[in-house]
C-alpha cells in the first residue's frame, strides 16, 4: 500500500461561536417589549385606567390581600378580574402556539406546518360544539374541546404508525384525514344546533379571550410553561431531528422517541390553549418564521424567540380586538388580517433566506 500524506494544514481555530450574544440581546429586548406591552395594554380599553392605579390594584392583590376591599370596586373588577388574567392568558397562548408551531415545523421537516396540522383544531371545535349543543351531557365546553383535540391527534398518530415507525408524510396525511372527519362532525353539530347555539359555535371557532378568568390562567399557564421549558431543553435534538429521521438516527437521536415527546408536548400545549380560547390561526405558523428570520434556524434560539414574539403579537392583536370597536372582534380575524400581509412580505422579499 502506497503512503498517503496525512498532514493537513490546520490553521488556528477562531472562536467558532455557536452561542451569540447578539441573539441573547434580541431575546432580552423582546422580553422587555412583552412586559412593557402587557403593562401598557392593561391600561387601554373602553374604560381607561392609569398606570399608577393599575399598579396599586395589582400590588394590593399581590402583597396585601387584606386591603382589597378598600380599592375602587369598578376599577378593581376591570383590572384584576377582567384585564389582568386576560393579558396573562394572551401572553401564555401566544407563547404556547408559537412554540408548538416551531416544534411541529422541526419534527415534520417542513417550515409550512402549523400546530393544527394533526387535526387539533377540528377536534377541539367538535368537542366545543358538543359542549355547546348538549350542555347536559358534556358539562364543560373547555373539557370537551380538550378531550377531542387530544383524541384527534392520538387517532392521527395511531393511524400513521406502522411497524414501529411514524413516517412524516403519513402523519401529515393522517392529520388531514382526521381533521376533515372532525370538520364534518362540526358541520353536523352546526346543522343540529339552534340559532343561539350556532352563533356560539361560530364565535368559539373564531377564538377570543372574552371569558378568560383566573381559573383558566391557573389551568393553562403551568401546563404551557412547563411543556415549553422541556421542549426548549431538547432544542438541539430538534435541530438534528429536522434533518430527517434517518440522519437523526445516524447522529444518535432516536427519531421515534423524540418525535413522540415533541408531538405529545406540542399537542398538549395546543390543546390546552385552543380549548380555553378557541381557534386562533396564523400565530403558530408566523412566529416561528419570524423568529427564524431574526435568529437563524437553530431551535435553541428559535423556540424562546418565537415564544416571546408570539406573546407580544397576541397581546397586540387582543388589544385591537377589544378596543377597535365598541363590540369585541374575534381575535382569529385580527391575527389573520394582521398576519397575512406579513407573510406575504416574507414570501416576496426573504424567500431565499427562509425557505432556502
Amino acid at each position: 500500500m502506497e503512503e498517503v500524506s496525512t498532514d493537513v494544514k490546520i490553521s488556528p481555530r477562531p472562536a467558532l461561536d455557536f452561542f451569540e450574544t447578539r441573539k441573547l440581546c434580541i431575546m432580552l429586548f423582546l422580553a422587555v417589549v412583552m412586559v412593557a406591552g402587557g403593562i401598557i395594554t392593561i391600561c387601554l380599553g373602553t374604560y381607561h385606567v392609569s398606570i399608577l392605579e393599575v399598579y396599586s390594584i395589582i400590588a394590593t392583590h399581590l402583597f396585601s390581600p387584606d386591603n382589597v376591599d378598600s380599592l375602587n370596586k369598578l376599577k378593581n373588577t376591570i383590572i384584576w378580574t377582567i384585564r389582568f388574567p386576560r393579558i396573562i392568558m394572551a401572553i401564555t397562548v401566544g407563547i404556547g402556539l408559537s412554540v408548538a408551531g416551531s416544534i411541529y415545523q422541526g419534527c415534520f421537516h417542513n417550515p409550512l406546518v402549523e400546530p393544527y396540522i394533526l387535526g387539533v383544531s377540528s377536534g377541539a371545535a367538535f368537542g366545543a360544539a358538543l359542549g355547546i349543543v348538549y350542555p347536559h351531557i358534556f358539562i364543560s365546553i373547555q373539557l370537551g374541546a380538550f378531550l377531542f383535540a387530544s383524541l384527534s391527534v392520538l387517532l392521527a398518530y395511531t393511524l400513521a404508525r406502522n411497524r414501529g415507525q411514524t413516517p412524516v408524510v403519513t402523519l401529515v396525511l393522517a392529520g388531514v384525514i382526521i381533521g376533515s372527519i372532525f370538520s364534518a362532525c362540526v358541520s353536523i353539530m352546526k346543522y343540529l344546533s339552534n340559532d343561539t347555539q350556532l352563533r356560539e359555535i361560530v364565535f368559539w371557532m373564531m377564538g377570543g379571550f372574552y371569558y378568560t378568568t383566573w381559573d383558566d390562567v391557573y389551568l393553562t399557564v403551568p401546563v404551557v410553561l412547563i411543556s415549553v421549558a422541556i421542549m426548549w431543553f431538547f432544542g438541539w435534538k430538534l435541530n438534528v431531528l429536522s434533518m430527517g429521521d434517518e440522519e437523526a438516527r445516524a447522529m444518535g437521536v432516536n427519531p421515534e422517541v423524540f418525535k413522540f415527546i415533541f408531538i405529545v408536548l406540542a399537542t398538549l400545549v395546543t390543546a390546552v390553549c385552543v380549548s380555553s380560547v378557541g381557534i386562533i390561526a396564523w400565530v403558530g405558523l408566523m412566529m416561528p418564521h419570524a423568529a427564524r428570520l431574526i435568529q437563524g434556524p437553530d431551535n435553541r434560539f428559535v423556540i424562546p424567540t418565537a415564544a416571546l414574539m408570539g406573546g407580544v403579537y397576541i397581546i397586540f392583536c387582543d388589544t385591537i380586538a377589544r378596543t377597535l370597536t365598541s363590540a369585541e372582534i374575534p381575535i382569529g380575524i385580527i391575527t389573520a388580517i394582521v398576519g397575512a400581509p406579513y407573510l406575504v412580505y416574507l414570501l416576496r422579499s426573504k424567500e431565499k433566506e427562509i425557505f432556502g
Binding site: W236, M243, A250, M251, G296, P297, I354
Partner: protein
C-alpha cells in the same frame, strides 16, 4: 485479525421481496473499502442495514465486534458515522451548525458545546477545506459543497467507522477526485471507510478493497486491482466495458468508443 465491519450471511427484503441474500464480507481496520455495483443492486439497502435503519431478516452485522442490533442508537452513533446521498434540508442551518450536529452523540445538556466539540468541528472543516463556508447557510451551497459538509459532519462525529453512500454522485470531475483523496487521508489516519460508488475507475484507483454486489448477492470481493476485471464488468454491466492500461494504471472505458 480484528475486523471493523463484519457482515455474515446477511439477507434482506422489502415486504418479502428479497433485495439480497447471503451477503458476507469483512472490512479491515483502517482500510478504505469500496462497495461497487450497478443501480438497484442493494448498496444503499446494505448501508441501511449496517446503520440498523432497516431490520434485516437473517444473518448478522457487527461493528468493532458488537452486534449492531443490540446497540442503542446513541451508542451506535459513537461507532458508525453515515454520510447520506446529497440532499437539501428545508431549514437554512449554517455550515458550522450542520458540522456541529455530528458532535451530538458526544454532547450533553442544551448548551453543552465543549471546547473539544469546537476543535473537532474546526478540524473537520479545515480537513475538507470548507472552513471559509462556516457561516454560510448549508442549503444555499452547491451540491458538491453540501457533500463536503456532510463528510465533515461525519468526521466531526469522530467514529472508527464511516459509511458513505455515493459520496461523489453530485460532484464535478475535480471534486470527485478531491473527495477520494480526502477519504484516503481520513483512512490513513485510522478511520475505516466503506464507500459505495458507480465508477469502476474510482474503485480501482483509490480503494484498498472492494465488495461487488449484483443481482441480489455478492459476486466478488478482494483487491480491486484483481477484482475489477473485464470479465466482472462484462457480467454486471452487460458487456459494454473494456479494461486497458495506461502506464500500468488501470482504466475502464466503453467498448464502442472510437479513437
Amino acid at each position: 485479525m480484528i475486523y471493523m465491519l463484519r457482515v455474515d450471511n446477511l439477507s434482506f427484503g422489502y415486504n418479502s421481496v428479497p433485495v439480497f441474500k447471503g451477503v458476507s464480507f469483512r472490512v479491515e481496520k483502517g482500510s478504505l473499502c469500496g462497495l461497487f455495483g450497478p443501480n438497484g443492486s442493494g448498496k444503499t439497502t446494505l448501508f441501511k442495514c449496517c446503520m440498523s435503519f432497516l431490520k434485516y431478516n437473517s444473518g448478522s452485522i457487527s461493528v468493532d465486534g458488537c452486534d449492531v442490533r443490540k446497540k442503542k442508537i446513541g451508542e451506535l452513533a459513537k461507532l458508525v458515522a453515515y454520510v447520506p446521498q446529497e440532499h437539501k434540508p428545508p431549514f437554512p442551518y449554517l455550515v458550522k451548525e450542520v458540522v456541529l450536529m455530528g458532535r451530538t452523540p458526544h454532547m450533553g445538556g442544551i448548551f453543552g458545546i465543549s471546547e473539544e466539540d469546537r476543535n473537532k468541528v474546526w478540524e473537520a472543516m479545515e480537513m475538507l477545506e470548507i472552513s471559509h463556508l462556516a457561516d454560510k447557510p448549508y442549503n444555499q451551497l452547491s451540491g458538491g459543497q453540501r457533500q463536503l459538509v456532510l463528510i465533515a459532519r461525519a468526521m466531526a462525529q469522530d467514529t472508527p467507522l464511516m459509511l458513505l453512500d455515493e459520496p461523489t454522485s453530485a460532484l464535478d470531475f475535480c471534486n470527485q477526485i478531491r473527495i477520494w483523496d480526502i477519504l484516503k487521508k481520513i483512512s490513513a489516519k485510522g478511520t475505516t471507510i466503506l464507500a459505495c460508488s458507480h465508477d469502476p475507475n474510482h474503485i480501482s484507483w483509490f480503494c484498498d478493497d472492494v465488495v461487488v454486489m449484483y443481482r441480489g448477492g455478492l459476486v466478488a470481493k478482494g483487491n480491486p486491482k484483481s477484482v475489477v476485471s473485464e470479465q466482472l464488468l462484462s457480467t454486471i454491466f452487460n458487456d459494454i466495458c473494456s479494461v486497458g492500461y495506461m502506464d500500468h494504471l488501470m482504466m475502464v472505458y466503453p467498448k464502442n468508443i472510437q479513437a
